[in-house]
């Protein structure tokens, strides 16, 4: 069974440009989460989808970040325009049941560098 897949694995962009990250969850997992780790600090929650609906987006830092999950399958996270402080590793996770009731499977992450 395929795990959670994220594209690209690395992205280097200039400040002001747009970047779109993609996450393919494990098939059948309704719950999809985005997290990020900035500058080697703690891993912070961004948002949670249940199917195509945003269940909790309280961790989204500002309106430069837009997450979508059309059709309840893969998800994209767009940063527009990117700023230097957006650099970090963006993780996606999926789970069969919500939140802490079950194990979440994480992707390998997308390392974003904004220069």
């Amino acid at each position: 069974e395929a795990g959670v897949t994220q594209f690209p694995s690395h992205s280097v962009i200039e400040k002001g440009q747009t970047v779109t990250l993609r996450c393919d969850p494990i098939s059948g997992h309704d719950n999809l989460y985005w997290y990020r780790r900035v500058m080697g600090k703690e891993i912070k929650f961004l948002l949670h989808f249940v199917k195509e609906s945003k269940q909790d987006e309280s961790g989204m830092p500002n309106n430069r970040f837009l997450a979508e999950r059309t059709g309840g399958t893969y998800s994209t996270l767009k940063v527009q325009p990117a700023e230097l402080e957006d650099s970090g590793v963006y993780f996606c996770a999926s789970s069969l049941r919500a939140y802490m009731n079950t194990e979440a499977f994480f992707g390998q992450g997308t390392r974003l560098t904004v220069v």
Partner: protein, 108 residues
């Protein structure tokens, strides 16, 4: 902040020794989980301990949970060089929160 702390931030030991990492959290929990991140890779789930459990074992891993102190510990026994990684605890009730992580280096 809803984040917690892990200590030590970094730990360097010899192969064969035991490694203990501690995690303190701030919120109510349903259960607590431990994850490992190898350099440049994603997070790998290690073990889940429910809030009504005090101790759990999985192979060379032993996790304890003290909900009265809002703390957990992860013990890796007979460590191997392949255990070198960052270790994170994760907890929450309605969403995941992660600790700051412990960077473990096991020297061969």
């Amino acid at each position: 902040s809803q984040q917690g702390e892990e200590d030590p931030q970094a730990l360097s030991i010899q192969e064969g020794e035991n490694a203990t990492m501690n995690c303190s959290y701030k919120t109510s929990i349903n259960n607590l989980q431990w994850y490992r991140q190898n350099s440049g890779r994603g997070l790998v789930h290690l073990i889940l301990i429910r809030s009504n459990e005090r101790e759990k074992h999985s192979g060379r891993l032993r996790v304890t949970l003290d909900t009265s102190k809002k703390s957990s510990s992860l013990l890796i026994t007979a460590s191997r060089a392949a255990d070198t990684a960052s270790y994170f605890c994760a907890w929450g009730f309605n969403k995941f929160y992660f600790g700051s992580g412990t960077k473990l280096n096991v020297k061969p």
